[in-house]
Symmetry: C2
Subunit: 772 residues, 2 copies
């Protein structure tokens, strides 16, 4: 068993194993050991724990505004797995008595959680405990738990298990009612949200295997419905409880209570093992498409799979719903999509599970109306996507987000109003999808409307400088959020032009190939065939900062190089309070060149061939030491760009930084600017795929084929993954000496693949090996 | 004697008389009783006082940066009038013993200061003291003092008098050397400034009248050169000292020491009375042109003359130098010109002493190069005048001005970079001068270059919105400094158009009348005859916010009406610290509709006929209760606009507020945002003329003549003043019933004058009376 950091271990790279419990890491380990399925996320806490231990079960599509708050966020629903064990009245707890042979384990391969220990109570009695659970992928509404205990001494054991409605919520109370009920042998609790009156039903059923309880009672406490089972056991007698919990909301089905009852009864009928098998089969399919194998570096292997796992369970696949910036690990960032979704999570799906990618883009189509309303509210038109996008695409981000910890006053952040790159980012993602899949039908049906509306938004935003004969974007906030209110942010300007170019291409191709669809779309949008002339004019005359002829540097925004030049470390010395927000309006970074993340490098990560390598290298050298990495999105971008410019060690260092943000709690900021920011950094998890495939393997699309420029970390013996390109599947195996490409038997396409100077055409079933 | 506030009195409206000394008012009374002549300002402190009592003698054209500071400001030079009296070793002081029959008096009529008291020492000895002084207008380098004392008991009296170089300085040490010297019977001190090495010489000479000292010694202390005179006197023996001080710097003459010695010797020769007579004659001429007589309201009479006096002594007339925002009363605001100069001080001179007005505008011509350099430094071209303009027009305003009193960090204010209205303001002033004087030669020689360069600056700043087919000004700070970073500030947009219109008019008239001068100018500026097309295009398509069709409201800037609507009083409750700065970036007013001053009203005050009265009234009603008057410029604007819209009581209330800012210390802010802001509010002083002439008399220029719409305050029986219009002098006498106009005998012009419906043509020497 390989020891990692923070009491964590792995055996095969398919599991994380915790050997000691550290109460200080409660927020983090709760996230790391979580189970989920894109519908719900259930944190990896202990069955006997409650709100103060950050127990949570976050359910998607339950956006509602907490009472007296301005935050519309997902609900933390009553905890259906709540279970306590009493040894002659002494309650089993991680905080009392003594734990022996403790182990908490997350099986990444099959998405299940295991906990085992022998607990010795303060008075000296012992019990062996084993808890297993999973959030089913076969039925995403289902949580299943198997709770097995064996007392070491004869005596009375009580189990109190039921539904705990005493849940915590980040921004206040989400439920106006908590209604416990029983239905046959099942217990349940129905809550109703305060804003929209969404009904959420949590129903639990129980089977006892082995010795049966001598007594069973239903108990109710405040917001709890519980079943108390009293056992009289001999030493060594083992009891197994199978607990099945179903969760439905009135946003899912018309009669959530009925459906939950039905599903729990079916689950009890099937039993834990059968349900687990069905669930594991789904994971088999996911991993078959998504797994990345690393040989020679077990830690990297585990980190990669851990992040792929977290990115996967954060992604709703049952409906077009957003991927939350913290997935379903907590309520932070409102369970809503940011640009993270397209920029950091989507690429993995585009090249491994394009159906999931399509679902994500479909979500952006479905939320166009929200984006239109936002544009209008702010004096623009077209589609200005929400910075924080829930189900409808309404802007969920509040005008006042951070708190000035020195004054207690709220800070007016402009992430929602000035960070306009979100709209072109979505067109970039659309194009990435189209380029990799060739799915023109999707573009015609959905993508064109997105692209045209984003183009119109850009028309409504851009300014023209008569005397310089150029367009400019004014008052922006780039990905580097420490610098608000800047002009001609290089990332924004380049992405905006990209989006306008693609809108033009789509328009022109539709004129030729889909004239009726185009006509209908223009009619619906109130545009005419002259509209694209405005897009073309901006494409041709938009100001695009160019590399300095000598230094080759690109300026992040107008005037950036005039700002104070100081290192992040020296700047940090100026903090008065450790939680101070570094950005707008007067954080310590605002008037300096210190970046939260580097927009120029972000641009390089997206636009593969826009700048020559020597420009990328000069800018990497300049911006890297000035970047504070205050964003979890930053290290992965550095890893990808470091790979591009040939900095292998640096790329690997950033790979480790980016992939350990959650597992090793490497993110320095659970609190920032007075805001709780705990939970899984979903985008960083998704970006692990990019660090490996775009970075170390150097993959990009060139023309109608794939291109590789591999640069494996020194310790890696081999790297293996699969890619889907235009419906053709190719298996990639990389060593330091060669790249082996294997096309699937049923590919319809012969794939052109370029590796440095070498090129192969890979027909179905073919295998090619190229020396590196 | 009429009692005013704060122990102040007046007899005739020509003097302020203080009857009791209040040490708490030291900063204020030092300013109020100051003497000066546009070259130097000498604060109205006591002869025996020193730095800690805010003694200061500020000399113009001595801009230099204090050691280790970023502040280029005027120097406080060694105090040549320093004089202490010892009664048998007990030093006379306002803080020890007892003062009887105390009086401090400022004679506004002749610009002289008097102090009288009988002082009883702690041990019970008495002395009668009388001190008179003035800063000569006949020779602006000269300070004269007459110091008379009469001991009440026989005994030894010592006088220590000399030059005190232990001066205070707002932002650190300005002198690298202090060199005391004697020259014949004179003593002197030469200092040399740290940045530019300006030599400043203060030379003092003394004559003793009456009993002569039994001993005279020269003494030196640190940075002091003193003469100790020991008298042995009988009770009631009176001694009079006449002390003459001359001040010259190497910016004034090549050999300042030589010149100062020469002038002091000449002054000693002439004697106090003769010098005073020559000085008073200059004041006679000033008052003959500038005085405003108010009958029936002695307080208003005194307030008016006090402010005219302060505005006058703050204005350099000996050379084209700026009027400091605090005049020469202290170093605050660096002795530099702001927009205050043109907008609040200039109008009085235009209509009463046009030669002084021309000198002020000439200063703006002389500083065009500084304005050009500023424009270039910030990425523009043309003339972007300094927000804080010293001798050369370089921007003196630092990027960091206020301090966040809650964190101790400096605040990045953008007064210097975003408050672009300063440039069109100067063109407005130029036009006001031209309109009132008809001085086309000045326009051709100087004004055209100012107007063209400002127009070019505006071209380089403005943006065009293609989709709205209009120009916009983005990222502004209007006169209301609580709202930085706004778009289409109404004041800025209207003034910018005004400036561009006038540049076009000047260009076109020069094409016809001064083609050679125009050609030369365009050549010098690198412009061609096509250049004005860009100005015309902006004039025609610039976005000018219009009154709402129903509410008639004008929006101060884009989005202002969406800000939180709260009263200044309620807002004030949110202060954590009383000295917090209310504005950028996160002061309490930033996100609210509370204004420091109202830009819409400021616009009404300048553009007489741009908006109909009902629009002005609706906007006055809206903006007045939302205005905090954090600026001393605000009350006068309210007074003028209140007069325009027929709110007579309100106009009078604001007149009192605006005219008592200094005399009654009504300015609430000696400290703001951690900055000392004491001293005379020169613009508020200058604005008293506007409140009366533009406000109560309702004067404006219409076509080629003058127009009046009088609305006298209820208590005023009569109001009299003179105006110069196109070199014709007219005396205006207003009562509530009639207006009497008398043209000077030697006028060349027949003046058309309109009063409501009535019109007269007033030839030289004519007198007309119109009923009101």
């Amino acid at each position: 068993m390989k020891a990692l950091k923070n009491n964590l271990h792995t055996e095969t790279g398919w599991e994380i194993v915790e050997r000691a419990f550290d109460p200080e890491q409660q927020v983090t380990s709760g996230s790391n050991f979580m189970i989920g399925n894109g519908y719900l996320g259930y944190r990896g806490t202990f069955a006997e724990e409650e709100a103060e231990d950050y127990v949570a079960c976050i359910v998607t599509d339950t956006w509602d505004t907490a009472e007296g708050s301005e935050w519309r966020e997902l609900c933390n629903v009553p905890n259906g797995l709540f279970t306590r064990l009493f040894l002659d009245g002494e309650v089993l707890s991680a905080y009392a008595g003594e734990a022996q042979a403790y182990e908490r384990r997350l099986h990444l391969r099959q998405g299940s959680y295991h906990r085992a220990l022998t607990w010795r109570s303060p008075s000296g009695r012992g019990v062996q405990l084993r808890v297993e659970k999973f959030a089913s992928y076969a039925n995403v509404h289902l949580l299943a738990m198997r709770y097995t205990f064996t007392p070491q001494e004869a005596g009375r054991v009580e189990i109190v298990t039921g539904i705990d409605g005493q849940v915590w919520s980040l921004n206040g109370e989400h439920f106006r009612t908590y209604t416990p009920f029983t239905e046959g042998e099942l217990i349940g609790m129905e809550t109703e949200t305060v804003e929209f009156g969404i009904r959420i039903d949590v129903v639990a059923g129980l089977r006892v295997h082995g010795p049966q309880p001598i007594q069973t009672e239903i108990e109710q406490e405040e917001r709890r419905i519980l079943r108390r089972l009293t056992f009289q056991l001999e030493a060594g007698e083992r009891v197994t409880l199978e607990k099945m919990v179903a969760i439905f909301s009135s946003n899912d089905v018309a009669h959530p209570q009925q459906q939950a009852v039905k599903d729990v009864n079916a689950a009890l009928q099937a039993g834990y093992d059968a349900l687990l098998a069905a669930h594991a089969e789904e994971w088999d399919a996911i991993w078959a498409a998504s797994d990345i194998q690393i040989e020679g570096d077990l830690e990297a292997q585990l980190l990669t799979r851990f992040n792929l796992y977290q990115a996967t369970i954060a992604t709703p696949t049952h409906a077009p719903l957003p991927i939350g910036a913290r997935g379903l690990s907590c309520q932070v960032y409102q369970g809503a999509a940011f640009w993270d979704q397209e920029t950091f999570n989507l690429p993995m799906y585009i090249y491994s599970r394009p159906d999931v990618a399509r679902n994500i883009l479909r979500y952006r189509y479905d939320t166009l109306d929200g984006a239109r309303r936002k544009a209008q509210r702010l004096g623009y038109y077209g589609a200005f996507y929400a910075w924080t996008s829930g189900k409808t695409g309404e802007e969920l981000f509040p005008d006042y987000f951070f708190t000035n910890v020195l004054t207690g006053r709220k800070i007016h952040n402009h992430f929602n109003s000035w960070q306009i790159h979100i709209s072109p980012d979505i067109v970039y993602a659309l194009w990435l999808y189209y380029e990799a899949t060739g799915d023109w039908d999707f573009v015609v049906a959905y993508g064109a409307e997105i692209a045209f509306e984003v183009a119109q938004f850009l028309v409504s935003h851009v300014y023209f400088k008569m005397d310089k004969d150029r367009y400019e974007f004014i008052r922006l906030l780039g990905p580097d959020e420490y610098h608000e209110n800047v002009d001609n942010n290089i990332y924004t300007n380049y992405l905006a032009r990209f989006a306008l170019q693609k809108a033009l291409i789509i328009f022109e191709r539709m004129q030729k190939e889909n004239p009726e669809a185009l006509k209908a779309l223009l009619g619906r949008l109130g545009l005419d065939t002259g509209t694209p002339e405005a897009w073309r004019d901006i494409v041709e005359r938009l100001y695009l900062p160019q590399p300095h002829p000598e230094s080759r540097l690109l300026e992040q925004f107008d005037g950036y190089f005039q700002l104070e030049d100081i290192t992040p470390e020296a700047l940090r010395e100026r903090l008065i309070h450790p939680e101070e927000y570094w950005g707008w309006p007067n954080g310590i970074a605002v008037e300096t060149q210190v970046l939260k993340q580097a927009d120029v490098l972000q641009l390089f990560a997206l636009l593969d061939d826009a700048f020559p390598p020597e420009v990328m290298r000069a800018n990497y050298d300049y911006y890297e030491p000035r970047t504070e990495h205050g964003s979890s999105l930053s290290p992965s971008v550095h890893a990808v760009v470091a790979s591009k410019v040939g900095y292998e060690d640096e790329a690997y260092r950033y790979f480790l930084e980016g992939s350990t943000i959650d597992l090793y709690n490497a993110s320095r900021k659970v609190m920032s600017g007075g805001s709780f920011l705990g939970g899984i950094h979903t985008a960083a998890a998704g970006a692990v795929w990019q660090m490996i495939v775009k970075g170390f393997a150097g993959m990009k699309v060139v023309g109608d084929g794939l291109y590789f420029a591999p640069a494996l970390p020194a310790s890696w013996k081999a790297l293996r993954f699969k890619l889907v390109f235009r419906e053709a599947l190719v298996r990639v195996e990389l060593t330091r000496e060669e790249i082996i490409l294997t096309a699937a038997e049923n590919n319809a396409l012969t794939l052109p693949i370029t590796v440095g100077e070498g090129q192969v055409l890979l027909p179905a079933g073919a295998r090619a090996s190229l020396d590196l």
